[in-house]
Homo-oligomer: 266 residues x 4
Amino acid sequence: MANSQFDYVKSFESMDSCLPNCWIVVRIDGNNFHKFSSKHNFKKPNDDRALGLMTRAARSVMELFNDVVLSYGQSDEYSFVFKKGTKTYNRRSSKLSSVVVSQFTSSYVYHWKEYFPDLQLGYPPAFDSRTVLYPSDKNLRDYLSWRQADCHINNMYNYCFWNLVQSGSTKHEAQERLKGTLSSDKNEILFSQFGINYNNLPQLHRKGTVIVRDKVTYASRNALRKVRWLNGPPLCRSKAQSMLLALNIDIIGKQFWEGNPHILAA
Amino acid sequence: MANSQFDYVKSFESMDSCLPNCWIVVRIDGNNFHKFSSKHNFKKPNDDRALGLMTRAARSVMELFNDVVLSYGQSDEYSFVFKKGTKTYNRRSSKLSSVVVSQFTSSYVYHWKEYFPDLQLGYPPAFDSRTVLYPSDKNLRDYLSWRQADCHINNMYNYCFWNLVQSGSTKHEAQERLKGTLSSDKNEILFSQFGINYNNLPQLHRKGTVIVRDKVTYASRNALRKVRWLNGPPLCRSKAQSMLLALNIDIIGKQFWEGNPHILAA
Amino acid sequence: MANSQFDYVKSFESMDSCLPNCWIVVRIDGNNFHKFSSKHNFKKPNDDRALGLMTRAARSVMELFNDVVLSYGQSDEYSFVFKKGTKTYNRRSSKLSSVVVSQFTSSYVYHWKEYFPDLQLGYPPAFDSRTVLYPSDKNLRDYLSWRQADCHINNMYNYCFWNLVQSGSTKHEAQERLKGTLSSDKNEILFSQFGINYNNLPQLHRKGTVIVRDKVTYASRNALRKVRWLNGPPLCRSKAQSMLLALNIDIIGKQFWEGNPHILAA
Amino acid sequence: MANSQFDYVKSFESMDSCLPNCWIVVRIDGNNFHKFSSKHNFKKPNDDRALGLMTRAARSVMELFNDVVLSYGQSDEYSFVFKKGTKTYNRRSSKLSSVVVSQFTSSYVYHWKEYFPDLQLGYPPAFDSRTVLYPSDKNLRDYLSWRQADCHINNMYNYCFWNLVQSGSTKHEAQERLKGTLSSDKNEILFSQFGINYNNLPQLHRKGTVIVRDKVTYASRNALRKVRWLNGPPLCRSKAQSMLLALNIDIIGKQFWEGNPHILAA
């Protein structure tokens, strides 16, 4: 039963190395999470336990891959940014994408009980993942802005939708009410009908979560952080002596990037 | 904060649809399982609990994807065969590959305690995955033969290696002892030195595990099964009224395929 | 001026080997041939000199690549079928596709004067090319049927269109007249208005041209050919002692393939 | 003979759009030009007629594609640089690559007699082509430097080799003589043995040919050219009112790029 007559099949595997000198982004996304969140009674429009668990799983990915310089998450998705020059797995797209999503999922199930101590995980959830390349720093920043703007748009819609539903509308009525409304209209609905000032809602919900590595010393970092970042306690101390910081801040504007030039210099 | 100025970045995602009319195989593989198995004291050369958990996770994948017509696993790897004409996720390679590995991993962690009731999972494990296309039935059968021959070769080596180690050799000595030995040499070592007749070892170890769907009615299937398959109890009854059967049998020879023509006809 | 500091850029080239065990089809197509044919006053609906030149260029490709087992052409396109197991250029898609289209174009310009002795080539024409894989023999035959059915459909339309135009209609009127007509309607227009029996039109126009290699000896081949193929003189004697035959026959039905089993057996 | 039962085969064609925001380079290369140049008695080490014809063919490509901002050629190869943002053919790799090589080849055969008035083209030559992406300006410049350094290295070797051969050495002896020699050794051989000062050899041979579009007005351009470019007459006036200039100058250093900032700004 020598293997030699069969191993020609190995030649059917294809090479899928990512183009060099591009940012590699792996984005994971909940598979059928509409059903999953409803089965587990996630709070609407946002369940802080679920968001916390997502960030816990993302941290696990960043601990596995030192070359992930930043990750950004919202709702049931997370994006992981590998530095341009990463040699991890020889830049093989499917290998990067699969280990990221597997590590993320694994950690999500593993840590479930810490975030939902009173609720048994009903069944094993799944995520998908994909690899996308961005050649320039501007493309990468625009990608992240795209995801954070998406967070904002969805969050505003969801706050309106669920407040309408929780105050007696059917889901269909709420949908109809919001059809074609602008951002300003939704602000007005939230304020006049529910007394909610959108800008006072938690940054976690409005901005999502960005995780970065902090390379400065512990002391000076804490000092700096008070200035630059108002929320977000240190997440963990990784082996590489760097800290992972989870922050709920704006990454569309210049301020974040100018304050952290080491990220794009990676 | 309209999204329109950023969403051009979506065009950087690439299409990766699999060539039509090919068997799509997604193979998952333990990532750094050398460390994982040693950390959790897996029995050597085979830990039946770990193998059972792998097959439990594979079943979860087959329950999610009705178009997986067969899966084959050994050691810390499993291959999932999607039928040639599957339209699942429009045959997008990264989507298929990522959801399979995510579902597998999720189920592996979720069901851990059923297979290791006395041992806490130490940390969340990860798997990688890849998609490979096989144009012809012969290519597909040769692929599966390649994996099962690999199972046999590794298993025979591992039985020798670990028996040598457990009887006092260092790992280095065991390695040196086996260098360059043929299959017949290893058979002889096992028999003369450890009283082991290789052919009497469990089929689970020598053949790995193939999971198929049984489409016949329950009654007739049980009857048929006695004839065709001597081991392997029905694994579960899936929604599609079909049963998943986990079998430890030879899939290199003709017998399996002639007895189950519906698999390649999928 | 050592090259070593720059040659890292070679790593940006990607591998594009075709999946093994698939038919590789390279199809070339005239680039902007509407302008080219009008600039050179090609006869409408078909210019036999131009069709002859296309086939001359195709022959040149088949003489370069012994692994092309069949080619099929009509109008300003030609398809070249490489045998499933070809190792030419390690099955690199862009290499195969580019050398085929380059050789074709080169030969088209080189032999122009033999087919248009009284007409100077006005400017150098270009073709595009693409590589497509077909896993099964049925897929390949369906591909060729697709092209030959396309030949038939376009040819019937063009015969109607140009006869209408040549008998006084404007192009716009001819277009309008044919809008929505069925095959039977077009047959009727040709017959009642122009006295043309479509089935009596040259096979070259209705069927296009298929080029095959004849492997039998010269004598017996000639005998066989009288039986099997009524038209199409031997095209050339290639180095490999095989003959290239250009035929204007049906390749959609079974007859051609049953009479030439060696083609799919390649 | 409706086409509908066959046209599913169109779905087997794959999408191959180039990643946005990358420089697209299409490089063509003579296929088996060792034989071609020897069959046509090309002068060694360089045949200025053949080099002129290559550049004539390259010009034809740049006239077809306004988005080619620069091309660089040496020996039997030419590279065409499409601007980063080009939308030509929706950035489809095989379409770009195939039309470039086809247009190049076509023009090469078409213009042969202008460059070899006394020598009939013996047979139709072919070129291959490939598409390579470069994300950053630096990568692109390094690519072009790689090709120009290659020109220099080969040219110096070839001058030595052919002078040795033409002065009585066999090819094998010449090869042996040059094995392991450094650049300085070859300079010395040329000078002491053949009285050739390498730096006085034609720039056409030492630097290859770069073709650019000149966007300034005709008058001022001529003035500027005297300063910046000492050789290379205007090649042609293209439709876009811009001129194509063929220059034999260094493109590795900064000077060329600083003097022509519009190229990388394309």
